[in-house]
Symmetry: C2
Subunit: 320 residues, 2 copies
């Protein structure tokens, strides 16, 4: 592919916009790696993004998130919509592009031209996935995907933050006592816009539904303008309930737009992102400073107590 003998973000962006998947994959690698090329991608995609519907899929390992994502892909594809999937794995040392582990389960969509699936790990991106994920989502948005699904692998603070990059957050539970309690502990109840009880062919669906409802009650009554997260039972492996899930996602999206909550949510995310970006840029400067030639010399001055740490820091930053 001689056309890809470029790492120029502008050229790659044009190709990706025309549907060249290798160019899009290359751009996502740049986003993942961070630094100046990632910032160049950000400058290209930012003004062109904002139209896509973004869905975050999160929940405990083994809840069936990949199968559910695959089923959701099928439902969207049957309507002809193009869909991109970002599978986020903070613990993976591997990087994007590769079809890893669970990705295989989405194999049925691997040859579909309207589907783009990508795994993402941190790979040294300063600020990690919390920074890289919204950038990647905007890129997919900017090159023309109307639907973007962000699937997280585990449940932790990072996953909750990553899922927060989506407009509609789907929390996947399983039937049986305790799952909702665990989800609550993991901070998932607060971020859920739609609940899915997947593997609903197993016993315990009613109990899990009741647990979720009780926790929703505890979080207080929903106002006239509020959103009460619906609870959808699915069997992702047979696509049972997936149409209902998609309908719930659409209802939520309509509510987001109609209530003004979409703008509020995006403004809030933007503030958080701007803080993260500022911090990441500053951390980059710290690394640059430490890699610079003066660091060791000034460090020795501090060790000899000829210079205090603050003055040393001032001098290092003045040079940077």
């Amino acid at each position: 592919m001689p056309r890809l003998a470029t790492d120029d973000p502008d050229a790659l962006f044009g190709l990706a916009h025309d549907g060249e998947r290798p160019a899009l994959a290359r751009l996502l690698s740049l986003v993942e790696r961070g630094g100046a090329p990632a910032r160049a991608v950000s400058r290209l995609s930012y003004p062109r993004s904002g139209a896509a519907a973004t869905i975050g899929i999160t929940g405990a390992p083994g809840a069936g998130k990949s199968t559910l994502t695959s089923a959701l892909l099928g439902a969207l594809r049957s309507e002809g919509a193009r869909v991109a999937v970002l599978a986020i794995d903070p613990s993976s040392p591997f990087t994007g592009g590769a079809i890893l582990g669970d990705r295989v389960r989405m194999g049925e969509h691997a040859l579909d031209d309207g589907v783009f699936i990508r795994s993402m790990a941190t790979r040294g991106h300063l600020g990690g996935l919390a920074l890289a994920t919204p950038e990647a989502v905007r890129l997919l948005d900017a090159v023309g995907f109307p639907w973007i699904v962000i699937e997280t692998v585990g449940v932790g603070q990072v996953e909750v933050e990553v899922a927060g990059a989506a407009d509609t957050r789907v929390v996947v539970l399983n039937p049986g006592w305790g799952d909702a309690v665990q989800a609550n502990k993991a901070g998932l109840m607060e971020i859920a816009d739609v609940f899915v009880i997947n593997k609903a062919d197993r016993p315990g669906v009613a109990e899990t539904r009741r647990d979720i409802e009780q926790m929703l009650e505890l979080s207080g009554p929903t106002g006239p303008d509020g959103w009460r997260p619906p609870i959808v039972a699915t069997v992702a492996s047979t696509c049972d309930g997936v149409a209902e899930l998609l309908a719930s996602v659409r209802s939520h999206r309509a509510w987001l737009r109609g209530s003004g909550e979409l703008d509020r949510r995006r403004a809030h995310r933007l503030d958080e992102e701007l803080q993260r970006v500022l911090l990441a840029r500053l951390l980059e400067r710290v690394r640059e400073v430490e890699a610079g030639g003066s660091y060791e010399a000034l460090r020795a001055e501090v060790a000899a107590r000829r210079l205090d740490p603050w003055t040393a820091a001032e001098r290092l930053l003045a040079e940077g």
Copy 2:
């Protein structure tokens, strides 16, 4: 006190060095608050510090750390040595100077001119207590205290970091099953130079001693040049065992000096501190930038998608 009608660090430092306690208290407040005055204090104390023996006292709440500190104070005072105590409470909204809660238990030393006791909280110091504590220790060192005891209130990451500002770290446990296991979980076993089993008039001393020894075994054999943390049983309220504790602290200090470990440890702490200071300075710049007039304007540009977050961050930092 007209002599204290100054906040000039140079003048205050001279007074503190001459034994003026209100001047020392004022300087510690400046350290606590951070910013330019704290940096001025740092520049004064840094070249004049390094001679004091510093002891960190940490352990679970209720283990008797304050009583033990008070007993240790008594032992040192009976030898005529001047002692400063920094009581560190990350959770307290109160600030220094005040004799808070447990301080009252040290009341017997309150009127002793050779003892200086001070509580410290964060009070918005950027980088928090992990940054302010070594600065405060160096100040006390520089104005002439040969012994400095740093007592932490709880057990958490901050407490472990704060205790790390001392050359000799004393971990206080109580008799009974499980205490050593909890301490291990809290990361205290790794940092312990001396173990104290306080309230040793209660049952379970042998078991706790065995637990500690087992954990020390697990961490591997100690080399010919290494230090094996002694385990001292005390009843702080009656001063039983406190002389032995002080002897252990002195043995450890002699080992630190003789083995070259004191220099290695201080060099390591210095690297960590330099990193924190660099980051704190940069975070100060973020706050300055956010408080500046351009932040809201640029944020609005980003919200309107006319500017991407990275470019906005660049512009803000270029102004700062």
